[in-house]
């Protein structure tokens, strides 16, 4: 890691994560249960410490597709939330160069009672776009999502696939420098998956940085420039996607047998 940070000048770096640790204090008591509180009141003050990430360091370069892989519970989601600034690290520093659009779950801020049009503006503004910009791009967003007939329909009347398409279109248009994608490649039907994959490739061609968390190893092998394997809350390997994926399979087999 220290080698990475010195090797790349800051204008080539999109994201730098240095020695980041994130722990949570999880209450020992489920204090929604009064009976439990009365029988063992000392538990009210007891917290179990759980470290989801320990001394994680890596650097993502500009224009790179960087894949983060690992088993469930390895800390991938925590890492993404740290990058999205939802959580703050306990130790270490995260540095982000440029505008980052997180895509942790499709349709951040969507409200079922609002129409498609209203949701586009709400979602877009949260992602940091201005109203004028959204007005300009509105038709394009709707067209990309293929929702021309549903513009003034409340979102709750849309199918889940349609919502995903809408969310993807908005994020795709958000003009960020770094995109953070969490398993979004697995949604939508085959045709839309292909469409969104093309969209991602176009972003990449324009020099945007893409950080993606996925369990789709084919995607990692085919599209990522580098990959990071998170294993038991620590960085296990960073390197060429093929090698990292192979390492991941090897570790999984070892732990099974």
């Amino acid at each position: 890691m220290s080698r990475n940070t010195t090797r790349y000048a800051s204008e080539e770096v999109a994201v730098r994560v240095q020695d980041v640790t994130k722990c949570f204090n999880i209450p020992a008591l489920r204090y929604d249960k009064l009976s439990e509180l009365l029988s063992r009141p000392w538990l009210y003050f007891t917290r179990n410490r759980f470290c989801a990430l320990q001394n994680v360091s890596f650097t993502v370069n500009k224009g790179e597709v960087f894949a983060i892989i690992g088993p469930n519970g390895a800390g991938k989601s925590t890492l993404l939330r740290l990058l999205a600034k939802v959580f703050i690290p306990d130790k270490g520093v995260i540095e982000i160069f440029g505008k980052l659009v997180p895509f942790l779950e499709l349709g951040v801020g969507f409200h079922p009672d609002l129409t498609v049009r209203e949701n586009v503006f709400l979602n877009g503004l949260i992602l940091g776009m201005t109203r004028d910009f959204l007005r300009d791009k509105f038709d394009y967003i709707i067209e990309f999502a293929e929702l021309e007939e549903f513009v003034d329909v409340p979102l709750k009347n849309l199918s889940s696939g349609m919502k995903v398409r809408l969310a993807f279109s908005i994020a795709f248009l958000s003009e960020a420098d770094v995109y953070l994608l969490d398993e979004v490649l697995a949604v939508g039907d085959i045709r839309f998956q292909e469409k969104s994959l093309n969209a991602l490739n176009r972003l990449r061609a324009r020099g945007k940085t893409i950080i993606v968390v996925t369990h789709n190893m084919d995607y990692v092998r085919d599209n990522a420039d580098r990959a990071l394997l998170l294993w038991k809350h620590k960085v296990h390997t960073i390197g060429k996607p093929n090698e990292v994926v192979r390492e991941y399979y090897k570790l999984t087999q070892q732990s099974v047998s």
Partner: protein, 266 residues
């Protein structure tokens, strides 16, 4: 001061920030009245009914002079904007947890946006007040002047409630008991401002000091004699504003200190 652990070399534009507050406000407003038949008419019905019942009871007991009817009505409206602002802004972070847990944006936008919904109700309240004043034979000049002063008082009350709401919003995410506590506080507060009774009446009560030193009391006393004598007690309003500015600043300070960790409180 904590060490800065996340450095983002990018700034959201001020324009986007203001538009975001506005968007939260509009959407909260739309959602609040989405499936409601009478919609914003409730902002008219509620103070009128409140006024009708309370005023009738109080005249029956012989404590309210007829000239004070509009003071009582205006007092209720100022109290209403205070309580609505406090409740809306306090619960904003909790209501928007589904967004806050997934993406970063300036969190206070949610609180400010939610609090503005109370302004709409207050605006309609002011229309009701103006209408009643004119219909009951006051000169238009007098009526407008009174309503403008009540409006100023309402905005000061709004500011105070927002300060409290910003401060409590983070704590509310952690301790849901606050909901009950604040409901109780607001109920008591209604009787700790001299709206439903003249201040002289409780001179010998133990609670008198509480009522007299309550900033919201100053806010309503500011326009108490406005309609009858044309005199407004600006000193009282300024004093209340000063207290509220301090509360707001302390609230924002506490908010800024904790907000980065709010996602862990849910």
């Amino acid at each position: 001061m904590r060490k800065i652990r996340v450095i983002v070399h990018y700034n959201r534009s001020l324009r986007n920030y203001l538009e975001l507050i506005w968007e939260f406000f509009i959407n909260d407003f739309k959602i609040r009245y989405k499936k409601s038949l009478l919609g914003v008419l409730w902002a008219v019905i509620r103070p009128l009914l409140q006024f009708y019942v309370l005023y009738n009871i109080w005249t029956y007991f012989g404590h309210a002079k007829p000239g004070h009817a509009y003071y009582i009505l205006a007092g209720i409206m100022v109290y209403n904007i205070f309580s609505e602002t406090l409740v809306y802004s306090m619960s904003a972070l909790l209501n928007k947890s589904h967004i806050i847990l997934k993406i970063y944006f300036p969190r206070e936008a949610v609180v400010f946006g939610a609090s503005l919904v109370a302004q709409i109700n207050f605006f309609f309240n002011m229309l009701v007040l103006l209408g009643l004043l004119v219909l009951s034979g006051n000169s238009v000049m007098n009526a407008v002047s009174f309503v403008v002063h009540v409006f100023a008082a309402g905005e000061v009350a709004y500011f105070g409630a927002l300060g409290l709401g910003v401060w409590l919003s983070i704590w509310y995410v952690r301790f849901r008991d606050l909901n009950h506590l604040v409901q109780l506080f607001l109920y008591l507060l209604f009787w700790l401002i001299p709206v439903m009774y003249p201040l002289d009446l409780i001179k010998n009560s133990q609670l008198f000091p509480v009522v007299v030193h309550n900033p919201l009391t100053w806010v309503v006393l500011f326009f108490k004699d406005g309609l009858t004598s044309g005199h407004y007690h600006w000193v009282l309003l300024a004093r209340a504003l000063l207290v509220f500015v301090v509360i707001f600043m302390l609230g924002m300070l506490s908010f800024k200190r904790r907000i980065a960790y709010v996602a862990e409180y849910y």
